[in-house]
């Protein structure tokens, strides 16, 4: 168990600050018509969230769980997830300002769309932070459902039939998935004896009562939770909304989907995994995660090969990485440690890729791979970032994702050799597919009508900062990160 809270008051304030900042920015977007005010509010809020998350992570690494209340509590997993939301969220906020300005200048969107964007962007970030920091499973569920509702309008942002279709698919599939997850969540409450109405149950209480959970009910509950939160994570076969939503949402939102929301849903699922493991042992949940993990990697890898749209390509890459994380946590031990680290690296790599994809879209006005040629000449800085993102996401040594993938594979080799071999072969297929598409887009002659040069330095700077952070964490991971990751691996 983690040491008792030593500064709960401070950390409650940090949690409050982190959640309240984007909510205030959202309210500002609702009441003001001035774009500059919305932009400033969003950027300030994102910096406040980043500072709060950094302090929170340091404190959790130093003293263990903070704010042990039935409403809010942040452990190592929570701190790690909040940190990824904050980093990707801050980068996305700064990137969004430049991205939305470009879209507005091109007359693709008007002032009401801009307002809608910043309103829902901040709500989305706030809902994710709430989900990651609340100690109550039902509040976690409500917050994750809130992420669905706040992002549905962002997927249909461009108001085209295809965007509408993607948003409807997203809304329906995620709503059904989350309702099933809600049912699974309720089943875990059967372990808590009630003398009438249910008390406020936090994760700690559920964990302490895990021994009283009927093993059969625990298994059924985990299956429902895995379907529910697995839908949000985007594990195959519940992944079908993901390529459509990622493909149609504005790229900063897609970056948040992949770099932050995936981790939020994964964290919720892992908390239930831990409770189920206490009730029935680790084999049951491990096997399910390994099965879905392998399926996700295989499905994603082969579809990536035939992909025609680079944003959808990145979506399938996310599914592949979600599969790797599921494999790591399914294998346990060093695999879980690598999977926790994989969450962090993947968030950064995918944000870099999506921001670069956004720049490509702004330049070429198309998400079709066949329409993008000679990007290296047209937008060299963006292309360099995209290539870096591709190398990072593919797990090229010595970058972080190489180490995590290697450790996940090594962790499962003894107990699940077939799964590991299939996954590794699929990773090779995914790498070749990604390389093929990246080569096609980056090289060759650029179309004459495409002007040379980046649209704005602010479309590059957030990605560049993420690259620096990614390299730093890859070659010299700080001690506090290892402390957090080790604590996650020990608990989940």
């Amino acid at each position: 168990m983690s040491p008792p809270c030593s500064a709960s008051k401070n950390n409650m304030s940090l949690i409050f600050l982190a959640i309240a900042s984007p909510c205030i920015a959202s309210c500002i977007a609702l009441i003001t018509k001035r774009r500059a005010v919305m932009e400033a509010a969003t950027m300030i809020a994102s910096v406040v969230v980043l500072a709060s998350a950094a302090l929170l992570a340091f404190n959790v690494a130093k003293d263990g769980v903070y704010s042990r209340s039935v409403y809010f509590s942040v452990d190592a997993l929570g701190a790690l997830v909040i940190a990824t939301i904050a980093v990707v969220g801050c980068a996305a906020a700064f990137y969004s300002v430049a991205y939305i300005r470009e879209e507005a200048e091109k007359k693709v969107i008007g002032s009401s769309r801009t307002r809608q964007y910043f309103l829902f962007f901040n709500l989305f970030v706030g809902a994710m932070l709430f989900a990651a920091s609340t100690a109550n499973p039902i509040l976690t569920w409500i917050a994750i459902e809130a992420t669905t509702l706040s992002t549905a309008f962002l997927i249909s942002f461009y108001n085209k039939p295809s965007a509408m279709e993607a948003a409807w698919k997203y809304l329906i599939i995620n709503s059904v998935g989350l309702l099933l997850g809600f049912f699974g969540t309720l089943l875990y409450f059967t372990s808590v004896e009630t003398g009438g109405s249910m008390p406020l149950v936090d994760w700690g209480l559920l964990s302490s009562h895990a021994g009283a959970l009927d093993p059969v009910i625990a298994k059924i509950a985990f299956i429902f939770v895995l379907i529910g939160y697995g839908t949000k994570i985007g594990l195959a076969p519940m992944h079908t909304w993901k390529p459509d939503a990622y493909g149609k949402a504005p790229t900063p939102i897609a970056a948040l989907f992949s770099g932050a929301l995936l981790n939020v849903a994964l964290a919720a699922m892992l908390r239930f995994k831990s409770i189920t493991d206490s009730a029935v042992g680790t084999e049951f949940t491990g096997q399910l995660l390994v099965a879905l993990g392998v399926l996700s990697v295989v499905v994603a890898a082969f579809i990536m090969f035939a992909q025609k749209n680079y944003k959808r390509l990145l979506a399938y890459s996310s599914i592949e990485h979600a599969g790797m994380m599921a494999l790591g946590f399914g294998f346990g031990g060093i695999g879980a440690l690598a999977a926790a680290l994989h969450m962090v690296y993947h968030s950064l790599a995918k944000a870099i890729l999506f921001f670069a994809a956004g720049n490509i879209f702004l330049k070429y006005s198309s998400t079709k791979i066949r329409h993008v040629r000679g990007a290296l000449r047209a937008i060299p800085a963006t292309s360099a970032l995209f290539i870096f993102g591709f190398l990072a996401a593919s797990g090229i040594p010595p970058l972080g994702l190489f180490l995590t993938k290697a450790h996940i594979a090594a962790a499962g080799m003894a107990a699940h050799p077939v799964a590991v071999i299939v996954a590794v072969l699929s990773l090779i297929v995914a790498f070749v597919a990604f390389l093929k598409h990246t080569h096609a887009m980056m090289f060759g002659e650029k179309p004459e009508e495409i002007a040379q040069g980046e649209s704005s330095a602010w479309l590059i700077i957030p990605s560049f900062v993420l690259v620096v952070l990614f390299v730093y964490l890859s070659v010299h991971p700080p001690a506090y990160l290892y402390t957090l990751v080790s604590a996650v691996a020990a608990s989940y």
């Binding site: 039902i138 409500i142 039939p161 698919k169 809304l171 309702l179 049912f183 409450f189």
Partner: protein, 215 residues
Amino acid sequence: MEHLFVQLLIVIMFLAAVFLHVVKKNSTAAVLYCAQSAAMATILLAASIEADSRPLLFVALATFAVKTLIAPLFFAHLIKRHQLKFSASTYLSVPLTLIAVAALTALTRSHIFAPLVALGNGREGMLSLALAMMLISLFLIVNRKGAISQMIGILSLENSIVAFAVFAGLEQAPGLQMGIMFDILVWVVVATVFTSMMYKQFGSLDVTAMQRLKE
């Protein structure tokens, strides 16, 4: 007597879920959902009276307001605004649909669902019906091609999960139930706005008309 009354209410909820598969008119589907939700709110009201709890009474009233008044009003407005008299068709024919509904109901009586039904502690029959409603609602979402039917299917699924929670003694604290209710309210608003936007884009609420994402 009380037990019998609650049994009657869960039977009404179940029958509403079954008839949702048969009805052709969107307005009838909305009325059926309204009836199902009214039964659900009455069950919660009975529970609040039994527990002599004012917070639970507020939850029952909020349920009634959101699911029996507001959601059907939104549906009615949507149907009237776009002249959506008839729901889109189903993938399976009506006889096949009814056979599937019967099979799903029978499944909840099988050993597969026995551990869940056993949570009832004297209310096994009601839990079994709540589980059957869940499966039937899921099937409604899958089998119907109309967006309004899919929306009602999701809300019916939520009703059946709440019914299961009540009969299995898993109701949450009133504050959390209000949070869930707020979530449902926002969901209804968002889904209705989307449905309206979809109609403007596609000229139909038949989800099979949405083929733009195929590449």
